[in-house]
Amino acid sequence: MLELKQLYQGFRDPQTIASLAKDIAQVAHSLDQQINIMEVCGGHTHTIMKYGLLDLLPDNIEFIHGPGCPVCIMPKERIDQAAVLAQQEDVILVTLGDMIRVPGSQGSLASFRAKGCDIRPIYDPLDTLKIARDNPNKTVVFFAIGFETSTPMTAILLQLAEQEKLANLFFHINHVLVPPAIDAVMHDPNARVNAFIGPAHVSVISGAKIYRPAVEQYGTPVVVSGFEPVDVMESILRIVRQKAAGKAELDIQYSRAVSEQGNLAAQAKVEQFFQIRPQFRWRGLGPIPNSALQLRDEYAHRDAELRFKDRLPVKEIDDHKACQCGDILRGLAKPKDCKVFGRGCNPETPLGSCMVSSEGACNAYYRYQGIDSKEQHHG
């Protein structure tokens, strides 16, 4: 029988990590340049902070924490829409984990739940089917969030809802895409990123191929990496080796599950139910064309944005002026640069979304803040 520990044990081996750190330092030392690696995904930010990896890296390697956290990039108006949906008579709003903590302009979904709205956080999107079946007289809205990794699950949920003819299940789609976010970061005139670590779980679905254009257009190495400390350290080593050899290539570190093409069946499912949304406003990054998905016209009858169109607020709402989530998501600032970090803004009462999710950069810094590392302490 496969045990979970077999999946991670070797990838947290202290000796392997120490020897990778040594190799990284050796190669990085020979470089006369600063390497600014953007780990696109919040999961990697979490790995780097939780395992204290910054302590192991030489001075000329810096991490810039990217916009790949589905909770962090959700603009307030979308959360307000979720709150309005939850306040409708006989509506059950279903969403994933951390989403219920993110503040909208009128409060978080958790605060609306406390006021009596029926809001249910779930772990598996397919649990929504049971909720819809068990409550035939209610309207169930699935507030779908996530990057390429989680979109196929929403597609399957939709497919099953269609097959079962569950007329009371609707979708509010907030699925977003990684490559347009990378473009948005790189098109900023102040962009400092010169290497990327790409999230492996996205590429398990979409393949490593989605990063080819970035490698070619920006001349930056992209290494598709797993989430264990050995994975991240090995990916850093591969980046510094490319830099030392003067190369910029697409490389798959997480070869145990990622291929160039990805999961074609999952891609076909996404294709079947979703189409590109002409524009989506990202928290911190602003509107990015073709950066998100929406339901195909054939499934418009399940689109909560259409079903409740007359009631959903569309006014764009920016973050609190003091909140620097935008600069942090674009890699222009670190959490400690923000005036309200750890003071007005903490995980209990977050001002910005980067403090909410365990994958948000501010949250990771607040929890794990490196000690004696290059990063300044908080508090």
Binding site: E3, L4, K5, L7, Y8, R12, P14, I17, A18, A21, G43, M49, K50, Y51, G52, L53, L54, D55, L56, P70, V71, L96, G97, D98, M99, I100, R101, A110, P121, I122, Y123, D124, D127, I145, G146, F147, T149, S150, H201, P229, N346, P347, E348, S357, S358, E359, Y366, R367, Y368, Q369, G370, I371, D372, S373
Partner: protein, 339 residues
């Protein structure tokens, strides 16, 4: 033992009405199971003979589900209060027991829970000497709430979070996170199959051994809600000391590790109901550990860290590859990660 285990009988509002039905419930169930002369005296208040410094604590218990792998709300209600006394170096003596029951609650389940309480009391020798029963209309409570208060004679004074001192070692009594993990697994929505059991247990027997062996106990605390992280952070602040723990030394079983991997939780944040942390001077830490392991059924007890005067108020976690980070207090409700 009185036979109240009639099939599918349910608690009705009249069971809390102060009349015949309530008297029958109290006599047939609570008196029968908790039987002792002080309780049987049926006065308005129990008369207690107390000697010297006495510890006094109270706790209310609400748990969903009421029955979980390794225990139930009854066992929890006894162990929880008894453990709070034990952590102060007090021998648990007298407890009160108040129950708030939702109308329609199964009499069979109530019986099981009360019997479980009676069984757990035997672990410490404490007695329930007074109590109260209320029944509230359906929908006004989630099945059953229990409050227990307890008093105990302090055998070892000066055990306090403020007494954690530089030069102390930190010991944990067993592998952490089992209760939190078992409850999460039992809840709707997180369907997993596992043999994992809550650690719910009475800690007095092992504390009694430590006291008998004359171990100088600086501080003790059971790591309930907030887990190991909460206890260590509270101590660091209360005593104004820095605490460093070695991640590799913290015992965590594979099932708890696995659940944490899947859902993105930290074992150090998960609740325990029969696991305690203690701070003792470094030079007797091994002795304390041996007593816990040999006589206290704490086979997986371990020394996990040290106390110093560096970075006062902070808890630092040292990873197996010798990097450091803060071990912060857990915040907010535990929600599974998204991807």
């Amino acid at each position: 033992m009185a036979d109240v285990s009639t099939k599918e009988k349910a608690i009705q509002l009249s069971h809390g009405g102060g009349g015949k039905e309530m008297n029958k419930l109290i006599r047939d169930l609570f008196f029968a199971e908790f039987d002792n002369p002080i309780l049987r005296s049926e006065e308005d208040a129990a008369k207690l003979e107390l000697q010297g410094a006495t510890a006094f604590t109270t706790d209310s218990f609400t748990v969903s589900p009421l029955f979980f792998a390794g225990g139930d709300i009854g066992k929890l209600a006894i162990a929880g209060t008894v453990n709070d006394l034990a952590m102060m170096g007090a021998e648990p003596q007298y407890l009160s027991c108040s129950v708030i029951i939702e109308e329609g609650f199964s009499l069979k389940d109530l019986t099981t829970i009360v019997r479980s309480m009676a069984k757990e009391l035997k672990q410490s020798g404490a007695r329930i000497v007074c109590g109260d029963t209320k029944v509230v209309p359906k929908g006004c409570a989630d099945g059953l709430f229990i409050n227990t208060s307890g008093v105990g004679r302090i055998l070892r004074p000066n055990i306090s979070a403020a007494n954690v001192a530089p030069g102390d070692a930190i010991i944990v009594s067993r592998d952490i996170g089992c209760h939190g993990a078992a409850i999460l697994m039992a809840r709707e929505g997180l369907t997993l199959e596992s043999t994992l059991q809550s650690d719910c247990a009475t800690l007095w027997p092992v504390v009694e051994q430590l006291i008998a062996a004359n171990i100088p106990l600086h501080a003790m605390r059971d790591a309930t809600r907030g887990g190991l992280s909460a206890v260590l952070n509270e101590w660091a602040v209360a005593a104004n000391v820095g605490i460093t723990v070695n991640e590799a030394s913290i015992p965590v079983c594979d099932e708890v590790k696995g659940l944490c991997e899947l859902y993105g939780f930290e074992p150090m944040d998960l609740a325990n109901e029969g696991t305690f942390i203690l701070a003792v001077p470094n030079d007797i830490a091994l002795g304390a550990l041996e007593i816990m392991q040999r006589f206290g059924h704490c086979e997986s007890a371990a020394i996990i860290g040290t106390v110093s005067d560096e970075l006062p108020g902070k808890v630092i976690l040292r990873t197996p590859w010798n990097t450091k980070r803060y071990l912060d207090l857990p915040q907010g409700e535990l929600l599974p990660r998204i991807c």
